[in-house]
Amino acid sequence: MFELNNLKYKDILEIDHLEINKGEITCIVGRSGGGKSTFLKLLNNMISSDQGNIKFKGKNLEEYNPIKLRREILMLPQNPVIFSGTIRDNFSITLQYNDLDIENDKKYNELLNKVGLSNQKLDSFAEKLSGGEKQRLALARILLLEPDILLLDEPSSALDDETEELIIEMVVGFINDKNGTLVMVTHSKEIAQRYADRIITINEGSLDKVN
């Protein structure tokens, strides 16, 4: 699905060769500040490499329309921003961004349920949610778009252990059901070992290990 060759981005990341396969769950682990988030942003073209190239489905990533590409490869950043307004607004803005029609409340409530926010009303102001709840709403927003390829940057950093397990389990199930591809940066080696088909360790800007 992704093939990276002789990739270099500033002094932050350097990768000679790496492949990420379709239908696999790939976990990225490593010390903080090592270039893991940069790695994800390169995959959805939020940033472009200075050298080398990334091939996506056999074609150079830079040849794709960047907007269409990001609609196909969705990314949840480590500190997702919640848009001002209600929870419903957060869903409808996401659909508007993708030129899609507004969905009904039933669909939104299902998603809230999925991410463990069933106690929240669609009319509640999203900014009043706690850090962990915001992170889960941001995930629900992404799931609304039903992506086949998902990039998650520490999706459970603001969650307690129990919720973390619930959320990761749900996302992995969602991707497996679609035979989708998941690339997830995680601080937890336990999560990586339990769910990943492959674990990539990135430290100090280069690949340490691929298991």
Partner: protein, 262 residues
């Protein structure tokens, strides 16, 4: 014209400077400072207006299309460079181009529409109309674009994370910055809208006052004032709209990646 204007003699004009002296006296007495600045401002105003008086006398007595166009270009250039220096943040080269283009094209369209459709001056380069009306439209648009550019730069710098999130969710740069664009536009045209609200009640606008002093019937002066306000509103709206649309694009590269270093 119903009667000719009272001319002010040089001696009477000099007595008007008493107001400056009063100001200097107050700031000195109260230790407020800035005396030099006040004197310099009064001096500059005097010299500039005297020079403009002579230039306009020559231009009005010798109407010439090339001179009229040259003055228009000088006013445009002055306004554009004034915007560059007024905006507090550093402007990228691309944003400077966007500002210059929107200022020039937006005011030009408004000026031509106003002079040739609304007033219908003949000959087309008649300097008595062309120059002051262009000046009013350009001056107000300059203020509008300065506010709009400042709003756009601050809006994008302060909301980088929101924009990035929107892009990651599949938004185009246009959609990701829609709120910032709307806010910048509104804040830039707001002073013009506000000035229309107070007009005639809170203050009599300069152009109308000038025409009345020069002997024009108040109703004629009012017609001109209404027309010029519409012209100003149109010019500010058009220039700010173009600047926001073109300016926004300069914050992104061709890969729809946000292009600012913070």
């Amino acid at each position: 014209m119903t009667e000719s204007i009272f001319d002010i003699s040089i001696i009477s004009l000099v007595t008007a400077y008493i107001f400056v002296l009063i100001l200097i006296f107050i700031v000195k007495k109260e230790n407020i400072g800035h005396e030099k600045q006040i004197l310099l401002a009064s001096f500059r105003m005097t010299i500039q207006l005297v020079l403009v008086g002579y230039v306009l006398t020559y231009v009005f007595e010798n109407p010439n299309p090339f001179i009229t166009v040259l003055i228009l270009l000088v006013m445009e250039a002055f306004a554009i460079f004034n915007i560059y220096s007024r905006v507090e943040k550093k402007l990228s080269k691309k944003l400077k181009i966007a500002i210059g283009l929107s200022m020039f094209s937006g005011t030009l369209v408004s000026i031509l529409f106003f002079l040739f459709i609304v007033i219908n001056i003949k000959p087309w380069f008649m300097p008595q109309y062309f120059i002051p009306i262009s000046g009013m439209l350009i001056g107000n648009s300059m203020t509008g674009i300065s506010l709009g550019a400042q709003g756009l730069i601050n809006g994008i710098n302060d909301n980088k994370a929101v924009i990035e999130n929107a892009l990651m969710l599949g938004a185009t740069p246009e959609k990701a910055t829609k709120n910032i664009q709307n806010r910048s536009f509104y804040n830039a045209v707001l002073p013009t809208i506000n000035s229309m609200i107070g007009m005639g009640i809170v203050f009599l606008p300069g152009m109308m006052t000038g025409q009345i002093l020069a002997g024009a019937a108040p109703l004629t002066a009012i017609k001109y004032q209404i027309a010029i306000m519409m012209g100003i509103l149109g010019s500010v709206t058009l220039t700010v709209y173009l600047m926001v649309k073109w300016g926004m694009k300069t914050f992104f590269n061709e890969r729809a990646q946000i292009n600012i270093e913070l």
